[in-house]
């Protein structure tokens, strides 16, 4: 591969690493109003369990088919739903490009989330992977689809803040 192509390939990978870094920063710093901006208008977002996913069952814990539905989710969290103060800490690892169409990619990364409650209790809240579809747009890479596949069937108490 020639140097320019190599450099482009590397630059793209780094851009994707940065995309995920910004994404989890957005969630973990309670900047939820910006969370929908990581997606395309007509996006799919779903949180499900490996059990449902591998059985081909379509149910999502959260199931959205548009960026506006993500905006509504944030509004509800801000205005309607009641839950204790809590924060997430995402760790991302092992980015892989599963399908490479240049400006449209199927991506997968491992993820882990530690949740901390206001009393200080930390717990392993989620472990799993992001099975995503990212597309290059005028203002950078966006998620056309993001399926959060959790290894566990169990959610501790509730899932308010998205993953």
């Amino acid at each position: 591969m020639d140097a320019a192509a190599e450099l482009a390939r590397i630059a793209r990978r780094i851009a994707l690493e940065e995309l995920y870094a910004e994404y989890v920063h957005c969630l973990d710093s309670d900047a939820l109003e910006h969370w929908p901006d990581f997606f395309t208008d007509a996006c799919h977002y779903r949180i499900t369990s490996a059990e449902n996913y591998s059985a081909g069952l379509p149910l999502g814990i959260i199931y959205a088919n548009s960026r506006d539905m993500l905006r509504d989710r944030v509004s509800a969290l801000r205005e309607a739903n009641i839950y204790e103060p809590q924060t997430y800490r995402h760790l991302i690892s092992g980015l892989r490009i599963e399908r490479d169409e240049g400006d449209a990619l199927d991506l997968e990364t491992h993820m882990l989330v530690v949740r901390t409650m206001q009393d200080g209790a930390m717990s392993l809240f989620a472990a799993g992977r992001y099975a995503d579809r990212a597309v290059r747009t005028a203002d950078g890479w966006k998620f056309a689809s993001k399926v959060v596949v959790l290894d566990s069937r169990l959610i501790d108490t509730l899932l308010a803040i998205p993953l």
Binding site: T48, S49, I61, A76, A80, R153, I155, L158
Partner: protein
């Protein structure tokens, strides 16, 4: 203190000592008297086990159970405990076996009804060892549950004294179950929550028709359901089971209702959805009931919220921990659009549900709040002191009904 030592308040079902949600001895007694006692508990949807040899594992209280489809095509259930030295006979949550059930520890084999068919090396090896002649296979099967099916739902009990399932459920509640299961159910998916509270705090929440529009402000805001919309609560005579139902909002008077709710902090006049598609529902049953929450004592819940239908199982995991299992249902004749409706409306419920996430937390709040107050009591007087059906949901009658059923079982 021991389970027996608790003295119930003279106010009866209108008062519940918080100790019943925290005391380990009471909890142990419940596992015995309620969950291994004369109650029917939900095990599975019959269609989850289509083929002979299919099995799944679940629990009666904390006791592991395996549910099978036998060679005879019938559903069977046994305690998942090997008759030899107590190993789990089935290790997987779901599975299929073509030659019965074999325990991994010493390869004792059972048929799908739990009868012991063979014991490895029963006759020893080379004339040495083996089981004594006094050992009879037929005396060492798996402990069998009684099972029965209602509207395609499989229930089980370990007690010979539990009345027939249909009598246990009764016609009224039974009809309200049948109302939902009109077709062949199709599982859309499952999810579970760990709740950091005693199982009864969640069951109270389910039977609490008073809280919905107050705790779940999402509901109120969108006028999806208010205590001002037409509806009520049906309660079995025994108090054990209940159904709360709500008719479409249009039957209510919004102006008067807003007026009434104006005192409640939860109303956000200005709050509108950007993409309301996920609330587009159809009256698939055709009776105008948009919300039905139904419970069968002690731990089964059936929910219809618009087009999202789910059964919930409430499993005790300790005095202060509970697992809540959801199974979401569609029907065989759903087209893609209908399925999509159900999936979108499923955002309303479950661990992240717009109108249910609070239910996952509030029990834990109570569990924390009652520490040091085990001898204090909750006050359950909304709607009076009785546990009869009422044409309103501004009542805690169904909760009083629960205690009416629970207390004699526990001897209080």
């Amino acid at each position: 203190m021991s389970a027996a030592a608790l003295e119930w308040p003279k106010e009866g079902n209108a008062r519940v000592p918080y100790r019943v949600f925290a005391d380990p001895d009471i909890y142990r007694a419940e596992l015995e008297r309620v969950f291994l006692g004369p109650t029917w508990q939900y095990l599975a949807i019959a269609d989850e086990l289509p083929q002979p040899g299919d099995y799944l594992t679940t629990f009666l209280g904390e006791t592991p159970v395996v549910v099978t489809r036998g060679e005879d095509g019938q559903i069977h259930a046994m305690v998942n405990r090997c008759a030899h030295r107590g190993n789990l006979v089935c290790l997987k949550r779901r599975g299929h076996s073509d030659d019965g059930l074999t325990c991994v520890y010493h390869a004792w084999r059972y048929d799908l009804e739990g009868n012991l068919k063979s014991v490895a090396f029963r006759r020893g090896v080379g004339g040495k060892g083996g089981m004594p002649d006094s050992f009879k296979l037929e005396q060492h099967g798996l402990q069998k549950l009684r099972t029965d099916t209602f509207a395609g739902l499989v229930f089980g009990t370990l007690s010979p004294d539990t009345p027939q399932l249909s009598d246990y459920i009764g016609n009224d509640i039974g009809g309200r179950i049948g109302r939902v299961f009109r077709g062949k159910p199709k599982v859309l998916g499952t999810t579970s929550q760990i709740l950091h509270n005693n199982w009864k705090l969640y069951v109270e929440n389910v039977k609490d028709t008073y809280h919905a529009s107050l705790l779940h402000t999402f509901f109120t805001t969108f006028r999806l359901s208010r205590l001002t919309t037409a509806g009520g609560v049906a309660i079995a005579e025994s108090g054990a089971h209940h159904t709360s139902y709500t008719y479409g909002a249009q039957r209510g008077d919004n102006a008067a209702s807003d007026q009434l709710y104006s005192e409640i902090p939860s109303l956000h006049e200005d709050y509108r959805l950007k993409d309301p598609r996920f609330l587009e529902s159809v009256d698939e049953i055709g009776d105008g009931i948009t919300l039905q929450i139904l419970s069968v004592f002690p731990n089964f819940v059936l929910q219809q919220i618009h087009n999202t239908i789910a059964v919930r199982l409430v499993l005790p995991k300790g005095p202060e921990e509970t697992e809540l299992q959801w199974t979401y249902i569609g029907f065989g004749d759903d087209d893609a659009a209908m399925t999509e409706k159900r999936l979108l409306q499923a955002n309303l419920v479950g661990p992240a549900g717009y109108v249910s996430m609070e239910d996952g937390a509030v029990g834990g709040f109570i569990q924390r709040a009652i520490k040091g107050g085990e001898d204090e009591c909750s006050v359950i007087e909304m709607g009076g002191h009785e546990h009869a059906s009422q044409p309103t949901r501004t009542t805690e009658a169904a909760i009083r009904g629960f205690w009416q059923a629970w207390r004699p079982l526990m001897g209080y």
